[in-house]
Symmetry: C2
Subunit: 386 residues, 2 copies
Amino acid sequence: MERVAIIGASMTQFGQREDEWITDLLAEAGLDCLADADVDAADVEHLYVSNMASGEFEGQTGVMNALAHDLDAIPAYTQRIDQTSSSGGAGIYAAWQSVASGASDMTMLVGGEKMTHRTTGEATDVIASLTHPVEYTTGVTLPSFAGLTARHYLERFDAPRESLGKVAVKNHKNGVDNPKAQFRKEVDLETVLESPIVADPLRLYDFCPITDGSAALMLCPEDVARKYTDDYVVISGIDGATDTHVVHEREDPTVMGGVVESGRGAYEMSGYGPDDIDVAELHDMFTILEFLQMEGLGFAEQGEAWKLVEEGYTERDTGELPINTSGGLKSKGHPLGASGVAQGVEIYEQLVGEAGPRQVDADVGLCCNVGGFGNCVITTIMEAAA
Amino acid sequence: MERVAIIGASMTQFGQREDEWITDLLAEAGLDCLADADVDAADVEHLYVSNMASGEFEGQTGVMNALAHDLDAIPAYTQRIDQTSSSGGAGIYAAWQSVASGASDMTMLVGGEKMTHRTTGEATDVIASLTHPVEYTTGVTLPSFAGLTARHYLERFDAPRESLGKVAVKNHKNGVDNPKAQFRKEVDLETVLESPIVADPLRLYDFCPITDGSAALMLCPEDVARKYTDDYVVISGIDGATDTHVVHEREDPTVMGGVVESGRGAYEMSGYGPDDIDVAELHDMFTILEFLQMEGLGFAEQGEAWKLVEEGYTERDTGELPINTSGGLKSKGHPLGASGVAQGVEIYEQLVGEAGPRQVDADVGLCCNVGGFGNCVITTIMEAAA
């Protein structure tokens, strides 16, 4: 079986896109991806859309069919993929399956979400509806899970509060060099640590923003990829896994089972291990999540990720394993359905050498996209075609 | 590559399920499917949910992760698939891809929707949001497209109004023998023709109802299937395709391009043609759609499906090609995400000889699931393992 390749990528400006609707954002990323991959819309066989909640946010459904219309890609087969905040990673997995199964020789995945026209409260409420009712109906939201977990982590592993803040500082610094990022400004540790409390001990700068945006990837079998370009990327490993849907049922709140299981599957499929990863995009919806993913994926022992951050191990220009070179969800923004796709865009650009001022030396990269509070996670490992 | 097999199927009672929420309905079908296939939940690797709008109908998202919890299937990978009214067919295609790609050796697909707690107007409004805004904002809904198309068809092909009514009469008659159907009562032609006008010339009995319900299928590679049972079904061909998202842009309103294209793809993949099909489930959301699918799939020449219906060609016990032996969406009901899966359940039961009083003599069956007003269509061809 041919391996599955990625031959093009795009993302729109992330941020507050006042004049665009979800269909506009999807079309913008889709058109840019067609151009980047040099693929005609007529050659797209499957057109997949990662989007959590266009119906809830905008009262508009059928956005995948609207996209086929807008790109002039009809009669391409379309499908919308929802895996809550990991819809983008689920889209990569679905697109991989569509190519690997032989169903399609050219699949474009476009992820997107339009959120900023709703208040933060409204958006948080839509997102919270993904949790189990036994938790949701008590008023628990994802940020509150993050606060509870952060407190436990800091106390149990004797980690300084500053270490979490340093994740935000690092990712904001990286985001300055990403022209598509929502926030392109450095923040210092003091600013993070003195920002308003959201879910104690976490403060405003420990959280990603509400964002509009879209991102896209073009996937095809490797033999087809070679006809288009020499500079492509191969998906070496990919897997997804659920953890308990009721978060409080987890035996250890610092272990995200979905991260561990999906990472294990992706490593096994790729033949690579944690030490082989040169660059990673992790789902830093909350700063504490970057620690939990580093540990779940084997980049650090349990309770020790904070030390690596303190040591600068994950810095872009000087660290051994740069994490969130794109700026992460923290500075780039988190348009739900787009985020996992945009992680893939960053790793693709790093591996083909198109990351500009963010470029690091990397042959193998990894993305980890977290749905809910780890309720479902998708891990993808990519490598340069060489 | 191993072919993809179906080794188990289930559906809940369709109708008004006052005491159940979407998660209850999905869990009911899921548990029944596990039992029918004799598969342990722990052996399910991918768990896919077809559902259009749990967020819009119930304010509940993440239903695929809730299902993994309810079935005790964690850490199975989960994903929600939306293709509007053809979400169920899209789910069959996604589940097929998950197995055919080698990603999963056991994929359970559960489709479901909970709708009857909303008024017909509210439900119609959610469904209408799948159409292109240039049509939606003028007040056009799917039933109005059906009325316009029916008028055109009847006039252009000199077809009697009664022929449409006979589709409803046939499908209601079949539904009497389906214990899971929403309506188990025969209707006579006079009742159909004198029922209240909804979208002239179509009347109440030309339309499917608003329904709660769920259905499930268990898919795996054929070599795995053989370890479980000798009585399984193979997916011989499957394909999906879009037509113009703006319905009024179609050159011929009586030709559904998505039906034609997806049918062509499924026939080509299977090696079968229209004459090889022994039984079919078509998407009779509106009676006129049964004609358009019969013609698009090559069961009748353009403008002549009505003659076959008049001749009794599609009758269950006496016709050459029984259509909608389950009762169809018309009498069985149409819980959006469940309907395409339930079509697969009926064909599966027909092919393994478990259709009871509805049983026909069939080796090869076909399902056609229509999203929107043909905006995206999935056609699946199955055969008995034999």
